[in-house]
Symmetry: C2
Subunit: 405 residues, 2 copies
């Protein structure tokens, strides 16, 4: 009987590689970028908006366990036939562990990093630090408390209190029915010191082993932590490579771009080449090039869909961004980007989209999101082709030139 | 050479009639309901969402001159090739005169009727009455002033002041490039007394004659006013029937359901049978039956699209409304309505839509709007068929029974 989940490398160009992920919901070519469907919806899009992208259709998406655990609840999704059926998406789904959100409600707020800000609704979850004592390994904020058994957090929706150990994270993800799941870890803040980061990483490893034991299938990504410290990152990379995880998640890399490069360089020699590598929560276009160049296979980020709702459209121009809110586009009868094959560029002008954003028409968000998702998918396709043709370095150079143009 | 615009009656069932409107953008079968695209967008939908309704696709839509005059401006739309091209809609469009919005900023606010409330954004235009003296025929509020030459209003967007005489209304509508346009009138409030209503109606008639003279094509609807007063309504009906308007608009009918019936009965004998009749800004399902039964051919209303964004779905049940926000639908794996052919019902469950509304996901608004527009289009199709088969009264009875079920 064939394995349900497998990964193989198809082509390489130095450390960059093209791979094939096999899942119960079909194959995925890597490097791949996963649009994020936080609450079982890629904001403003439906199944067909993605399907219509044809060859450029997203191959896999990410959904957030934290959000779905709270609303509508994993049992609800399970009763509705699982996430694929619930949201009408029949290609692969990866769910995260919920850890990042749980901790971004704690340290994130305390350290002013990784706050849960919904840019669309402009609503912000406000936390209040109650007591911080890293030495005691118990950090309390209003919304999150960490103990050896697992974290306890308070819902940002209704204030209810939830104990969320690794076993519950895994059970939740399995009820959701994702193709790939992620082991529960603590995502430390870049502002944590060496001692706290080390203690946290070691606890994360224990949680990840518990996650692995709790899982029914061999479809779990372990997660490398260790903050900005080389020895910890190396230790964590070895831990994830050597344990029986299907894939390797690289967590807490959202620091500076320089530090991310360093971290990826430190861990590279210790990553099992047989396992797919997911740079969690990354990223922007330049970060994707940084990652692919260092052997990363999977990326996910809310960035392209979030900025779309602000009227920022991805284009091959300076900083890759065209701000449709600008009055310069009021009478512009061209598409967002000349030559783009996306539905929006095929049917609507910059002038109309500018109007929709000015008038805060709902349609604006969808049309802009279609373009940005399509743009990311096209980029990943170009990257895969360049690797197969051994010209990845040239492609990267051309794109980064555009960025600074 | 064939006439660009024409109307003929194809079938009748007592006063109810099936007609055919010919426009430069194709034919329209009446009775017809026009979804409203206030700001050049039927909120949350795009061209293809409508196109995909197939035989149930909206035949004609309404866009609001007041809103488009202010933003993006008629010149902008004209430079972009007109409203059809701008918004990518190649079937007929009717624009209103802008009068209703201009006056709803004045009397509407003063009398607490017809306020411009955007239920989605929860934003409300607040007006302040400065001086009211109906006897002097000059009513001032913060946002609107009426004189013989025309109204002057203040923009709800930026507070700028605009003189908006009939000639500007017509010029604006012609720049927008609508198939059908509407003469500028003053829409009085049901709280106005006989004297004010009469004086206002007579001034509206003068404005309408000026509108007619300003128009380049024979595609204008005159508007019947006269408030809740029989003699005024009859006088106004004769005025519109006898002047060279292409069609007849029935304005200010949004009073009580009983009064609307009365008004329609008073004016019926005085309506030219050759002209299509548009009951402006109406309506709900029962109001549509009331109108069709009294010879109305065209309806428009924001109701179905607005309630969709609140999670209220049109169904053949009590009050024709299913409130998807209710917890009862959390685990409901059925479609909004069994047997419905709309895209939403074909692809999504009540449970998923309930979740999207709870989570305030943008997709909720679009999927619900698709259903409600499809529902209205199906209703109108049923009405046309029933008239052609001389069983309109029976159809009406069945629907009103459902409503009270």
């Amino acid at each position: 009987m064939a394995k349900k989940f497998c990964f193989e490398t198809v082509a390489t160009d130095k450390k960059a590689r093209v791979g094939k992920l096999v899942t119960p919901h079909g194959e995925v070519e890597t490097p791949v970028f996963l649009p994020v469907g936080t609450q079982a919806s890629i904001k403003s899009l439906d199944r067909r908006d993605l399907e219509d992208m044809g060859e450029t259709e997203p191959q896999m998406i990410l959904a957030n366990t934290y959000h779905l655990y709270l609303r509508p609840g994993a049992d609800t999704v399970a009763k509705m036939g699982g996430l694929h059926k619930f949201m009408n998406w029949d290609r692969p789904i990866l769910t995260d562990s919920g850890g990042f959100q749980v901790f971004s409600l704690g340290f994130g707020i305390e350290h002013q990093v990784g706050k849960m800000v919904d840019l669309f609704s402009k609503s912000m979850v406000l936390g209040e630090a109650v007591a911080v004592d890293p030495k005691e390994l118990v950090v309390r904020t209003k919304l999150c408390k960490i103990e050896e058994d697992g974290p306890t957090f308070q819902s940002h929706i209704d204030g209810s209190v939830h104990f969320f150990p690794p076993e519950i994270s895994v059970e939740t993800q399995e009820k959701l029915g994702a193709d790939f799941i992620v082991a529960l870890d603590e995502c430390t803040s870049p502002l944590h010191d060496y001692d706290y980061t080390k203690t946290s990483m070691e606890r994360s490893h224990r949680w990840e082993v518990r996650s692995l034991k709790a899982a029914k299938q061999r479809n779990m990504f372990g997660v490398i932590q260790g903050g900005p410290f080389e020895d910890l990152r190396v230790k964590s990379a070895k831990f994830v490579s050597e344990n029986d995880f299907f894939g390797i998640g690289i967590g807490g890399a959202l620091v500076s771009k320089e530090k991310m490069r360093e971290i990826l360089d430190w861990i590279y020699p210790h990553l099992s080449p047989q396992k797919p590598r997911h740079l969690l929560g990354i990223g922007t276009i330049d970060d994707i090039f940084t990652g692919v160049e260092r052997g990363v296979d999977i990326f996910d980020c809310v960035h392209p869909t979030r900025i779309a709702r602000m009227g920022w459209l991805l284009t091959k121009t300076k900083n890759f961004t065209l701000d449709l809110n600008k009055v310069a586009y009021r009478l512009d009868s061209g598409p967002i980007e000349e030559g783009c094959g996306c539905y929006t560029c095929q049917h609507y002008t910059r002038a109309y989209l500018h109007h929709l954003f000015r008038a805060r028409e709902l349609l604006a968000y969808r049309l802009a999101t279609i373009h940005n998702v399509y743009f990311m998918m096209s980029l990943m396709k170009d990257i895969r082709r360049a690797i197969a043709e051994k010209r990845f370095a040239k492609l990267k150079e051309n794109w980064l030139k555009l960025m600074q143009s």
